[in-house]
């Protein structure tokens, strides 16, 4: 297939078109609306066989995906920010019911004040929900991750829902060059949906969504946690298979010139892309720096992160969200991973880009300069106007 000029939202819609999920529930919210609008065009033109439901709210949107998935159908949806927050209780329910719903989240700041631009507070707010979270650096990754999401979620050793995260506006709206796969290749890779005791199998009725007394609840949660653990290898395996059909290699994280770096910055999403330019610029001036793009945030790959950051002179953890009263959510997990390293490195949190506050190459250089000059605090607020 020839290259296409597309934004991240369109790329996700294209991936769905090639997969043709049985049910898609839709509700508008910036900056994911283009996904559901583009997909609606495919539906209107008979290019997909999906049952497309215009939901009356995100809380209902997620409930529809849960109902459809339990019924035995492949279900997908997309949301952002307040929409994700509105469906918060349902996220936990989807995960507890072990339904492999796939949802693209266009990462956008949570209200208030209301802000439609990029930050990670929405997905971070749901990090305990039992959903897997995978982050895309650019439009190509948004497309690739979207396709892989279905395989990862539906794996019989996993059966958990997954959030395919794209930076709001930055990845969702910026037009980039996309190398799509052929329709047949995608279809074959994703395969047929295999339901477990579906509701529509009326000859073999089962009951979903039980009431658990304390005698049973913990084991059900433990099973979810074990499934998350299995997911680490499944993400690796699916990514390897994807490399065979696409030529693009993905892992749980990507190390950019970090093997021999003294100072490393780790980030999620598009900022990890900007970081590569920062690293190249500083390396050209003789600074021994590198960056890590974390692709899989949930389950958190503690071992992989600890290994790649072992023995560094300093690690900067970039957080496009904040846990008020504490620090950045990524910082908490990264620091925890690093704690058991023999050569445990000093780590510094950089809160940046909240509510879409732009952060460019020059701004990010400061992060490395801070570490080199011993000016980095434990928690730093990059770009705030004081």
């Amino acid at each position: 297939m020839k290259r296409l000029a597309m934004n991240g939202d369109q790329a996700v819609a294209l991936s769905w078109k090639q997969i043709d999920p049985d049910v898609v529930s839709s509700y508008p919210i910036t900056p994911q609306t283009i996904i559901v609008e583009t997909y609606a065009d495919y539906v209107a033109n008979g290019e997909v066989g999906t049952e497309y439901i215009c939901s009356e709210s995100e809380h209902s949107s997620m409930s529809m995906c849960i109902g459809a998935s339990a019924a035995g159908a492949r279900a997908a949806t997309a949301t952002a920010s307040a929409g994700l927050a509105y469906m918060w209780e349902m996220l936990y329910i989807a995960a507890s019911m072990r339904l492999p719903v796939v949802m693209t989240v266009a990462n956008r700041a949570l209200s208030g004040p209301i802000n439609i631009h990029c930050d990670h507070s929405d997905a971070m707010g749901a990090r305990d929900s039992g959903w897997m979270q995978i982050y895309a650096e650019n439009v190509q990754e948004a497309y690739d991750n979207s396709i892989m999401s279905f395989r990862i979620a539906e794996d019989m050793g996993v059966r958990l829902p997954i959030m395919n995260c794209l930076d709001g506006f930055i990845v969702t709206h910026a037009i980039e060059s996309l190398a799509p796969l052929e329709d047949e290749v995608v279809k074959k890779f994703v395969g047929d949906f295999k339901p477990i005791h579906p509701l529509l199998d009326v000859k073999s009725p089962h009951s979903f969504g039980p009431f658990d007394m304390p005698e049973y609840y913990y084991e059900h949660k433990y099973a979810q946690q074990m499934a998350m653990k299995n997911a680490l290898d499944v993400v690796r395996k699916v990514s390897e298979e994807y490399a065979e059909i696409s030529g693009r290699k993905y892992d749980l994280l990507e190390c950019y010139r970090c093997e021999d770096a003294d100072y490393v910055a780790i980030a999620l999403g598009s900022t990890a892309g900007t970081m590569k330019q920062v690293v190249d610029d500083l390396r050209a001036e003789g600074h021994k720096v590198g960056s890590v793009k974390l692709r899989l945030f949930r389950p958190f790959p503690f071992q992989d992160v600890a290994k790649v950051l072992n023995g560094k002179k300093g690690v900067a953890v970039m957080d496009r969200a904040i846990s008020f009263g504490a620090a950045g959510p990524l910082f908490a997990d990264v620091r925890s991973a690093m704690f058991d390293n023999e050569a445990r490195s000093p780590s510094f949190n950089y809160i940046y880009g909240l509510g879409g506050r732009d952060v460019g190459v020059e701004d990010l250089k400061k992060v490395f300069f801070d570490m080199e000059n011993g000016n980095a605090e434990t928690v730093n607020y990059l770009g705030v106007k004081l």
Binding site: M97, R159, H206, S207, E219, H220, A223
Partner: protein, 87 residues
């Protein structure tokens, strides 16, 4: 090892719990008065009226909670509630 299936329940397993243990009164049927209208069956909340071939055959005492609706609704007073333990 728990799997994705484990949180999904098999059908009809509630039968294993004998709600008959809840009773403090139980229904006694006088079959001579019964006209097999099956109102008792229609109004029983616990599937505890035994019916076969359109005939009221008795009470499922393993599950009957002793609510007394059957006795109250019987148009022929063919069912009376007696204290558990009494004859």
């Amino acid at each position: 090892m728990s799997t994705a299936e484990d949180v999904i329940m098999k059908p009809g397993t509630a039968r294993q719990y004998h709600t008959g243990s809840w009773r403090s009164r139980r229904p006694e049927v006088d079959k001579d008065k019964c006209i097999n209208c099956l109102f008792c069956w229609m109004f029983c909340p616990d599937n505890s009226i035994l019916v076969e071939g359109g005939e009221m055959k008795g009470i499922k005492y393993t599950h009957c909670k002793g609510c007394g609706i059957c006795a109250h609704q019987c148009p022929k007073d063919a069912i009376v509630m007696v204290e558990e333990g009494e004859q």
